[in-house]
Symmetry: D2
Subunit: 288 residues, 4 copies
């Protein structure tokens, strides 16, 4: 964000060993890369080393298309690293899945349109026609796939085809009220971000505001997480809460919750776009 030069971004984790950070920064430095971001974290219980490095490519002597190979050959194998390499000029391509509610959708499209996010959003997919008009306002293609028990497999196949056609890298479920099949999810592992309208793991599943109201909680929450085949049980990216009181009706909870949901979801999506999230053992490491 601070730099206009083209940068490379390395996200990686590996078994912790002395000097790994030095090895990686040395690789960047000695080949002419100017580091503009570096953060690392060691899980001392699991003995795992995580890092994110970003460096300017102006004077980097390894050609872009060779960096991945060189890094894999010289370091990744040796240190048993799991890594991903991105380039700042290759914007991630995101699809939004939506149903009937517009608040998360608007929040993301506003960020997109005002260039707050370095992302491409070529595609909105829905199981309802309601948001067609909104998509049109922002000149984004809208594809309507009504889902029934009978046609679910078939429709998901068409959706996957479309996602492939548009080179979609990751999917955001913006209050998409339809459970994705386990098979669908395997095509986008750790690449589907959902917003659940409760403070997970409290109130898993349907109607969490109603459940929160019934239980008489004094705070309500929202949780964004990567989708896994276990409902509402994937790695949590971001959570937040808002205070309520006995005066709040279910309608108030839903209204207050909308603001929570959109902010919590957009924070998570923003971090994903910036390639600042690593997942490990059903948890996330989210760098600042």
């Amino acid at each position: 964000m601070q730099t206009e030069s083209k940068t490379a971004i390395l996200l990686m984790h590996c078994p912790d060993k002395q000097g790994i950070l030095a090895v990686v920064t040395d690789f960047i430095n000695k080949n002419g890369g100017n580091i503009v971001y570096l953060d690392q974290y060691v899980d001392r219980t699991e003995k795992i080393f995580f890092m994110r490095a970003e460096w300017e490519l102006n004077d980097f002597i390894i050609p872009d298309e060779k960096i991945e190979e060189y890094f894999a050959t010289l370091y990744a194998q040796k240190y048993n690293m799991d890594f991903k390499l991105y380039f700042s000029n290759q914007l991630p391509r995101m699809a939004i899945f939506v149903s009937k509610m517009s608040h998360c959708l608007y929040d993301m499209l506003a960020r997109y349109t005002s260039n707050e996010w370095k992302v491409e959003i070529p595609l909105i997919i829905s199981n309802h026609p309601d948001m067609q008009e909104t998509a049109k306002r922002f000149n984004i293609e809208y594809h309507y796939f009504p889902i029934t028990k009978e046609n679910k497999q078939e429709q998901e196949a068409k959706e996957l085809e479309l996602l492939k056609k548009y080179n979609i890298n990751f999917i955001v479920l913006a209050r998409y009220m339809q459970v994705l099949s386990a098979d669908f999810i395997t095509h986008y592992e750790q690449k589907i971000i959902n917003i659940h309208h409760s403070f997970l793991p409290a109130f898993v599943g349907a109607k969490p505001y109603h459940a929160a109201f019934e239980r008489g909680v004094k705070l309500i929450g929202a949780t964004s997480h990567y989708v896994t085949s276990d409902l509402d049980a994937g790695p949590i990216i971001e959570q937040d809460i808002v205070r309520i009181s006995h005066k709040d009706t279910i309608e108030n909870l839903i209204a207050k919750g909308r603001d929570l949901e959109k902010i919590v979801l957009s924070r998570a999506v923003g971090k994903h776009i910036e390639r600042k999230i690593l997942t490990y053992k059903n948890k996330t490491v989210v760098f600042n």
Copy 2:
């Protein structure tokens, strides 16, 4: 708190009807009471009216010992009210149950000793000897009742006897690590306040910080609630949370949690002491 005069405090709820607030305020006004606090709330779904009124007794023409009778006869029966009457000069008497952890205990004793709370704390009960020394620092009696499966019934009977002897009105479980029997609870219904170290209903039961760590949540919480025979399921009085990150170990969660627990518990106890909490249908109405 704002007034030094002796006051009466009325806490009540009843089926909502037009004019009930007027009836009650009229009763106070026309008999010479000067209202210093009035708050009301109507649950429009359940059609229940809740109120708290506090008035100065200087010029009130009904003698203190007759107010309850008069109010019951003239209004409570007629409007099917459930009410309680307190006097500001009759300090509630509180017992603290504690195990081995001191943070909630210290927080409450500091408030008590510095007269932040208008309460009497004549008694600390524990299933461990560890906090004896702390009790002594504050000159409060400490009774040690070790609990085993075999002696639980017998020990609880002794505790109840002691609580009765000391005219204890309500009990605070300050991280008391021992489940009270259903029978014990019946003696202090809606009068036992517990602190649970999670954002209920997430992580009910033992070791919630370990469970939160495993789940990879981004916020941890604490919940104070009245104790019912359902574990961690009684009416919630107060909740709060603190942000954590992937960097936090279980030890960090426990440390951050301690600060949450003591503040959340003390807020709830403070409201109870001020007689600002009404319970209804396993929920609380907490007035400001």
Copy 3:
């Protein structure tokens, strides 16, 4: 919100006297109004009584157009009340003033378009052409009034004319980067809502994020308030904060601040639309 019937909303304050609440509720009840909302607050230091009442008009025996007169004659004069009466079917008409930043604008237009707010927004006014396109997306008229020292008086006169023509009831400054003249403000006293991008009264005036960064604060805030002729000194409606750290650059503060600003502004505007705000002595009473 809970009722579909047409309602009347009374907002009022007056010197506190015994029985005022009873007088007003009695007026509503005995004339056939069904109260669906009632909240009151007494400032015991200033001895001022504030209330908001809302009642259904189906069976109310006083004709709508006579309620104000009757209430004024029968009660307001007698009790020295300052009151306003609204009808739920008369939607308030709001104009948005904007400059170059879109985040607050989008947030409000999304709420408007999705019927979250019961309001009419016929008009957007700007001192820059940048948001023209956004206005068009939502089919709202956009009027561009470039302001210089020389033409300010003249341009404001035109703006006022336009506002009058469109029967605008209140104005929202959505990061409008141009100080309104004292004269302009007199036409919309307590009817212009601004968002200031700091935790007022810290960092009054220009570039508050830069000032916050310089000072090394650990939280940044946003404040929505009614505009008075004193810069950033009008009655505060809502404030909130977000945590920052030494890692955050000014760019990060600005980005995190955007989310704060739009939520804090929209909360304030929402309360204003619901007619839940009373102002008194440069402060607000905001009902739940």
Copy 4:
């Protein structure tokens, strides 16, 4: 905290250069130190590198008493480092200055007594006799130095003598209502932690809750900071806020503020004890 072995802690900052982190970690690793904590931060605007490293000394080949010399000679001069070295078994020695309010004092003494903090507190100093009794409860020496304009210089000299005698490393002002002289402060630069009962820089100086009430803010705050000769203007360590409403009297603000103050102060003191704070240009870098 995770380790029982004796550790060394290095806190340092220097002009940012490529490879500094590698140099320092290499120094630790190659001499047999096992790193248990490592965090670094680069201020890319100021081009300053900050780090905190902690390593076990069991197999470290440089004797404890030589580490500082070796590090200074081999690296600190070369890289223009400003560094401090601590050992985990040398507990910092803290003095508390207090006036008449007990809440911060109790909070800290409870943490100290329960071994939450790895610190020694041999001494409490006060300008009032009120907290004598509290000090006695915790068996800590209490020295009473009444301060007048006339005797201030003389009394501060005696205090400094006492602090020296007890080898005090840092001072905590626990709502100490007496401004320290600039001369006094020079003896403990960046070593005096104060709690100010507002969200600085709002409401500098006396009676911030009264000022907050007057201004009608919707949140109140507390700020812990290092003391400099500029009143309430030193580097901020930690801040937090709590929500208030029009219903809160000044007394309520003061009561709610007490809980904020003690938690915010204790968080700052805890970080200082853990040697996790670096100061630079009137700001703090606070490691997790």
